[in-house]
């Protein structure tokens, strides 16, 4: 029987020499879910992932991976998961095929199955032609595709992806995202850590936003956006120079910001702001060149929640 939850984390804490990197976080990830972990640098995302993948021992708290406690049954828990760590880390002196076969061996997959699976993944990730080339001759995009493929060698129930598309070319990014979606639709639970908020917005069923070692928000991207409605905004451009502060209309507009040649106004009542802008233009003798209403986006939510 497949459990409802792939991951159950309770009060997970990690301290390094008195510094609390992860502070009593609790969360559950459902089976088949694509779960995003967002946060600024140093928020504790990678430390959390390293505790969940059995590399770091938590200072306190528990983490269940499937039916196994990562501390009590680390090998069984690790057998269920595939891991794509943040840095490119295939063995550069080995060929792509040999890297995949090594992963197969480390997960105890039989030889025949290992070869079959490696060839399937090489084809899927567009690396089959170069399977016998050493990884050091690969481009960054090819290397990253191989690393994702290595994480899939053991047909994991749960896949951890730490910044899988950081710094890659558009082609590789698209291929990796497409395959993440495909594998997720086949039932693999995916934990995605990313700095790319738009990526999380597009891919994830739910996201958790971390800051200073704590989870500050956890929900679906759309719900997070609607919870923080004040972040809806209007972008306006005038034909004359206008100071951003002049557009703080009473308590209707909460914040204004100059963005290039435009001014962005944040408001919960965007409907009321538009006539005010028209009136402002008329009274100041300037013309509105463009006016866009922007729905709240996940980036705004992120910035708001992770502000110092």
């Amino acid at each position: 029987m497949i459990k409802i939850y792939s991951i159950e984390v309770r009060d997970l804490t990690k301290k390094f020499n008195g510094f609390t990197a992860v502070d009593k976080i609790s969360l559950v990830v459902k089976s088949g879910e694509l779960f995003g972990l967002l946060g600024p640098n140093g928020a504790g995302k990678t430390t959390t992932i390293r505790m969940l993948t059995g590399i770091f021992k938590p200072t306190s708290g528990t983490a269940l991976i499937g039916e196994y406690d990562i501390q009590k049954n680390p090998l069984e828990a690790k057998q269920l998961m595939g891991i794509v760590p943040e840095m490119a880390n295939a063995y550069v002196d080995l060929s792509a095929l040999r890297n995949l076969l090594l992963m197969g061996e480390l997960y105890g997959i039989r030889k025949k199955e290992r070869v079959k699976r490696a060839e399937y993944l090489l084809k899927l990730f567009g690396l089959y032609e170069k399977r016998n080339n050493k990884v050091k001759t690969f481009s960054k995009g090819m290397k990253q595709r191989l690393i994702v493929a290595m994480g899939l060698m053991n047909e994991p129930r749960l896949l951890f992806l730490d910044e899988p598309t950081a710094g890659l070319d558009v082609g590789s990014v698209r291929l990796i995202r497409k395959l993440i979606k495909e594998f997720n639709s086949k039932g693999i639970t995916i934990i995605l850590t990313t700095h790319n908020i738009e990526e999380a917005n597009q891919l994830c069923d739910r996201v958790a936003i971390m800051n200073h070692g704590r989870i500050v928000a956890i929900d679906s991207p759309e719900k997070l956006k609607s919870t923080f409605q004040s972040t809806a905004s209007i972008e306006v451009a005038f034909d004359k120079k206008v100071k951003a502060e002049e557009l703080l209309f009473g308590d209707v507009v909460t914040e204004t910001k100059k963005v290039g040649d435009k001014i962005r106004l944040y408001s919960k009542r965007t409907g009321e702001v538009i006539p005010m802008l028209v009136e402002y233009a008329n009274s100041s003798g300037s013309k509105i060149i463009s006016l866009n209403t922007l729905a709240p986006n996940l980036e705004d939510v992120f910035v708001k929640l992770t502000k110092e």
């Binding site: 059995g54 770091f56 057998q79 840095m87 880390n89």
Partner: protein, 237 residues
């Protein structure tokens, strides 16, 4: 997780290490070239008997090789960020360490087979135990959590060269006078002594003492290495 399954994974680690590290420059330079030059410098112009030279060569080859590859493998993996992948796979730490151990062992044995003809049974047994012992020493040297192979090479040289000079390879123990006792702390002393006994018939200790000492050092090094590796693991990331 069953024991045999873990052992198979150890072998996977060994296979990978052999592919990746056998022909790495630093390993070849400080594992084979350096000791060869040292040895040539030692014999040229001196009228030494073969039975004195061969045991020394054997001991040095064994010892220097492993203390050279030891500090390279783990540090290299840490630097290349492959170690994280390895420890997040379902392989126990002892199995990773054992895999490394077999790598060192194969490395040593192959060096011996390449260079020297095995002469007697006691030397074969002694060589195998010494290979165990020096492989464990290699593991121990690889434990500090740095990602810089050259730092570790330096520390390893600091340990290895004094040991070479106090182990009766260049200077016979009998001529060390009151400093003789220093040679007892080096595992290499016992191997050189055993090799001298097997080849030339001269010895300072009984062969049994030599074998027991080597065995004792092996256990001590291996256990210390596992404990230290466990402690240093999280500091590697």
């Amino acid at each position: 997780m069953n024991f045999i399954g873990q052992l198979k994974r150890s072998l996977a680690v060994t296979k990978k290490d052999l592919f990746v590290f056998y022909l790495k420059g630093p390993v070849l330079i400080s594992g084979i070239l350096m000791p060869s030059f040292l040895f040539i410098a030692f014999i040229v112009g001196r009228n030494l008997s073969l039975s004195f030279l061969i045991p020394g060569l054997l001991g040095m080859a064994l010892f220097v090789t492993v203390s050279s590859i030891g500090p390279v493998v783990v540090q290299w993996e840490t630097r290349m960020k492959t170690f994280e992948r390895l420890v997040s796979a379902p392989i126990a730490l002892w199995a990773i360490i054992f895999g490394l151990f077999i790598t060192f062992f194969i490395f040593i044995i192959s060096i011996i087979l390449l260079g020297v003809e095995i002469i007697s049974l006691s030397l074969v047994i002694g060589t195998i135990i010494a290979a165990f012992c020096f492989s464990s020493l290699g593991l121990l040297i690889s434990a500090p959590p740095t990602d810089n192979p050259s730092n570790m090479m330096m520390i390893s040289s600091m340990i290895k060269f004094p040991l070479l000079f106090i182990s009766g390879i260049f200077v016979p123990i009998s001529s060390m006078g009151k400093w003789k006792f220093i040679s007892y702390i080096s595992p290499l002393t016992y191997y050189t002594d055993l090799a001298r006994y097997s080849i030339g018939g001269t010895n300072n200790f009984s062969p049994i003492v030599d074998l027991l000492a080597l065995f004792g050092f092996s256990i001590l090094f291996f256990i210390s290495a596992v404990i230290w590796h466990k402690k240093s693991l999280t500091k590697r990331f």
